[in-house]
């Protein structure tokens, strides 16, 4: 059978960094290929080259047997390629409909044509989003919902080769299940898919073959049937590795640190109450739209409409002011790193110290030697190359950007309260284990961690306490041994007992 896509010897260097070196790949019709590799291995760069977003230094691309020079995304589209990029790329003030057709080569200048509406609707429906209003602005959606729009956008277009760069990093299992189902359906239609993910379970469920990149070089391409999970991890990291989740030690001191009573966010969260003890990791689990990530946002002071009473270490905390929360050592990690996390043009160093300026300033004047030392040790801790402290942060790979956000939240020496939405979004398996280890370390120092995650495996692996949410209401609370995947999944999808 003829290959739909054949890439030969592609290389790409940035000043001081070789992102890709002599990488080749070919794809048959109806093949689903996983691309795996550590953060910064070159996966996103590779697909950006396919789409003409980045120009390679050397190498050639054949599409349907013809050598092509892909100059830009529009041209790539017209040759049958479609991409869901790693970072969200929606226009927040435009409607869902507009966003689905944004940048499509098919759309004429005036696009209010009924057929586009119908196709957009169909794309949403295949994703199970039957009740979505196409005219709603994207800015009113959560990160996970926006991710679904990105996927709908790809489905609405007619691509022969679909490229998905970490499409599921912010999605919950039910959505992922559905998306994997759709992709399998597309395979039977003879379409080919390139699929990048750090959730290795998806690789084994969905893909036919795996290409592993490491340090910008091709390590191996082989059928999934001949690959084990351990083998894959070893190929990615260049070493083997055992324990993902460190176990929680038995704690003597578990005094309550955070008490939330009657937290209300109109339209999303309904009289939410909880307590979070010192030295423990609390996970709030819920599907997209359940209000789970609103709890952390509200506690961080980012939701002006939130009401309710919150006490931290016995003292009441005002809602709706981030500086106030930060002053109480309550820090936040956003799940939207592009819009709400990263300072893109600023250096890696500046990004790491963003929350520590107060601590190292005397009368408003900064002590740079101290800040530099701090940044270097933080970079070391979260696994970002110290030599890149002076690089612009936007030049880091997606996963490495995420490490910056996490590193920044390890703010002060005193034990704080950490609020994290999807803290490990896009981080590779090796670095992820390291981040879990740091989380435990923080707990040992007396911090309290409150997080949300769409990855139930992660929830079950790392949480000491799980609170399940369904449509803004608490369903149940589980602790230690009582935490089980099945009951959490049941709670967040079809709750049997609704606790008021």
């Amino acid at each position: 059978m003829q290959e739909v896509l054949s890439v030969r010897g592609v290389s790409k260097a940035y000043p001081g960094v070789t992102a890709l070196e002599d990488v080749s790949l070919s794809l048959r019709p109806g093949e689903i290929r996983a691309i795996c590799g550590e953060n910064g291995a070159g996966k996103s760069t590779f697909v950006k080259i396919l789409m003409g977003i980045v120009q390679p230094d050397s190498g050639s691309i054949d599409i349907n047997g013809q050598t092509q020079v892909v100059r830009g995304p529009q041209q790539a589209q017209s040759m049958g390629l479609g991409l869901v990029a790693q970072e969200l790329s929606l226009a927040p003030h435009l409607s869902i409909l507009d966003n689905i057709w944004l940048g499509s080569a098919e759309v004429p200048f005036l696009h209010r044509r009924a057929s586009f509406r119908v196709r957009a609707k169909q794309a949403l429906e295949t994703l199970g989003l039957t009740d979505w209003d196409l005219d709603r602005p994207v800015s009113s959606l959560t990160v996970g919902q926006r991710q679904l729009i990105e996927i709908a956008r790809l489905l609405a277009r007619d691509a022969r080769v679909l490229i998905l760069d970490e499409p599921t990093a912010t999605l919950s299992d039910a959505d992922i299940e559905r998306i994997l189902g759709i992709l399998k359906g597309l395979r039977t239609q003879g379409r080919s898919i390139i699929y990048i993910t750090h959730r290795l379970g998806e690789v084994f469920e969905l893909c036919d073959s795996i290409t592993v990149l490491r340090n910008g070089q091709h390590v191996a391409t082989q059928p999934v049937s001949e690959t084990t999970r351990e083998g894959l991890v070893e190929m990615m990291l260049g070493r083997s590795f055992e324990d993902m989740y460190p176990k929680a030690p038995a704690h003597a001191d578990q005094s309550v640190r955070v008490v939330v009573e009657g937290l209300d966010v109109p339209g999303t969260l309904n009289k939410f109450s909880m307590t979070a003890p010192r030295g423990r990791i609390v996970c709030i689990a819920g599907q997209i739209g359940s209000g789970a990530n609103m709890v952390t946002r509200a506690l961080a002071g980012l939701v002006p409409s939130a009401t309710g009473s919150v006490t931290v270490d016995g003292r009441p905390m005002r809602l709706g002011s981030v500086p106030h929360a930060v002053a109480r050592n309550v820090l936040f990690v956003s799940d939207d790193r592009a819009a709400e996390g990263l300072f893109p043009q600023m250096t890696v160093l500046d990004n790491l110290i963003a929350t520590r300026l107060d601590a190292s300033a005397r009368m408003g004047v900064l002590s740079w030697p101290a800040l530099r030392r701090m940044a270097a040790s933080l970079a070391e801790r979260v696994g970002v190359d110290r030599h890149r402290l002076k690089s612009q942060s936007i030049a880091l790979s997606g996963g490495n950007q995420q490490k910056l956000l996490f590193g920044r939240a390890l703010a002060s020496a005193d034990a704080g309260v950490l609020l994290m939405n999807e803290p490990t979004r896009g981080i590779d398996v090796g670095a992820r284990a390291e981040i879990y280890r740091i989380m435990r370390e923080l707990c040992d120092l007396g911090s309290t961690l409150i997080m949300t995650s769409s990855d139930l495996e992660e929830v079950v692996g790392i949480a000491d306490i799980v609170i399940t949410l369904y449509r803004g209401n608490v369903v149940a609370r589980y602790e230690d041994e009582a935490i089980a995947m099945s009951s959490i999944l049941a709670d967040i999808t079809h709750p049997t007992q609704a606790v008021a």
């Binding site: 000043p15 001081g16 930060v326 893109p344």
Partner: protein
């Protein structure tokens, strides 16, 4: 970005690049083009007959100081993510007027204080509107411009007001070691602004707000205070220009600051401060102001009229904006 990485986690893919290849990186090519452009410009300027003669150098040093102080203020506004202000030129005029009035009434020292206060507060107030109410910065500055002209016109029919003889001491009009005092004030302003930007917490906050407003909010930066602060300082540096003009001419007129906004933004951009915010430096604006002022002096020496100066400034800004846009592409 010129860092070479070797091993480590992000290093994934960080074998030192082939230097030849790196040199053809697009961003670099454009930053080189910018440097070459400036060098060529300076060469033309210095080749202009009479440019290096004492009088024109001196006039360059004073002209650049007025534009320069406004440009320093503008730099803070641009870095804070608020593009530019159209009201700084009018602020120059109004501080000059208020300064002369205050000097005539209260004396030189108090006059200085009043002048600086007026300029800072007027601009700071705009900052408050932009930072607190989240009003559009361009609209606010245009409204402020109209208001400032409207109010001053209602109060001053004559147009120009003069300082009473003997109120402004001769010592502030001279030179120190052959260098005009105005230029020394400008240099000091640039250094102070640079220290604010790079050595203070406020400076870091300013870059963060300019780089990503929402991310700054999420890490607990008080965004409204930061934006207001940027405008307060911008007003402070701008009023220095107004006061120096008034001292130089012993008089004040609302026309004093006309078109300074454009020259200032030109200086900011030529200096390499990004129009989108979050990036930039006051010392580079100093260099940018030197380039802009040199071009103006050269055009005068070549015998070209005022209109050509606007044209030149416009062309330079256009060139820089195009270079910036292309340079940031991949």
């Amino acid at each position: 970005m010129t860092e070479r990485s070797t091993a480590g986690a992000d290093s994934a893919g960080s074998v030192a690049a082939d230097p030849l290849r790196a040199r053809f990186d697009r961003a670099r090519v454009f930053s080189w083009a910018q440097t070459i452009g400036i060098v060529v410009l300076l060469a033309i300027i210095f080749a202009t007959p009479g440019f290096l003669a004492g009088p024109s150098i001196l006039s360059l040093l004073t002209t650049v100081s007025f534009i320069g102080c406004v440009a320093i203020g503008m730099t803070l506004i641009t870095i804070s993510g608020n593009i530019m202000s159209f009201a700084l030129g009018a602020t120059v005029g109004v501080t000059a007027m208020v300064f002369i009035l205050a000097v005539n009434w209260l004396g030189f020292g108090p006059g200085l204080v009043v002048g600086l206060l007026i300029g800072s507060l007027l601009t700071g107030l705009q900052g408050l509107l932009i930072g607190w109410v989240r009003a559009n910065p361009i609209i606010v500055s245009i409204a402020a411009l109209a208001l400032i002209y409207g109010v001053t016109q209602a109060f001053t029919e004559k147009g120009t007001i003069y300082a009473d003889p003997g109120t402004v001491p001769a010592s502030v009009k001279g030179k120190i070691a052959g260098i005009p005092i105005e230029f020394i004030v400008f240099l000091l302003s640039a250094v102070v602004a640079q220290l604010i930007l790079s050595a203070t917490r406020f400076g870091r906050n300013l870059f963060m707000v300019g780089s990503s407003f929402r991310a700054a909010e999420a890490v607990g930066v008080s965004t409204w205070r930061t934006v207001t602060g940027a405008y307060l300082w911008a007003g402070f540096f701008t009023s220095l220009a107004g006061i120096m003009l008034a001292i130089r001419y012993d008089s004040a007129n609302m026309d004093y600051g006309v078109a300074y906004d454009y020259d200032a933004i030109a200086a900011v951009l030529v200096g390499g401060t990004a129009i989108g915010g979050g990036q930039g430096s006051a010392l580079r604006t100093l260099a940018g102001a030197m380039v802009i002022a040199s071009v103006q002096v050269m055009l005068l020496l070549q015998g070209l009229r005022q209109e050509w100066q606007y044209l030149a400034a416009g062309l330079i800004v256009l060139a820089v904006i195009i270079l910036q846009a292309r340079g940031s592409g991949r």
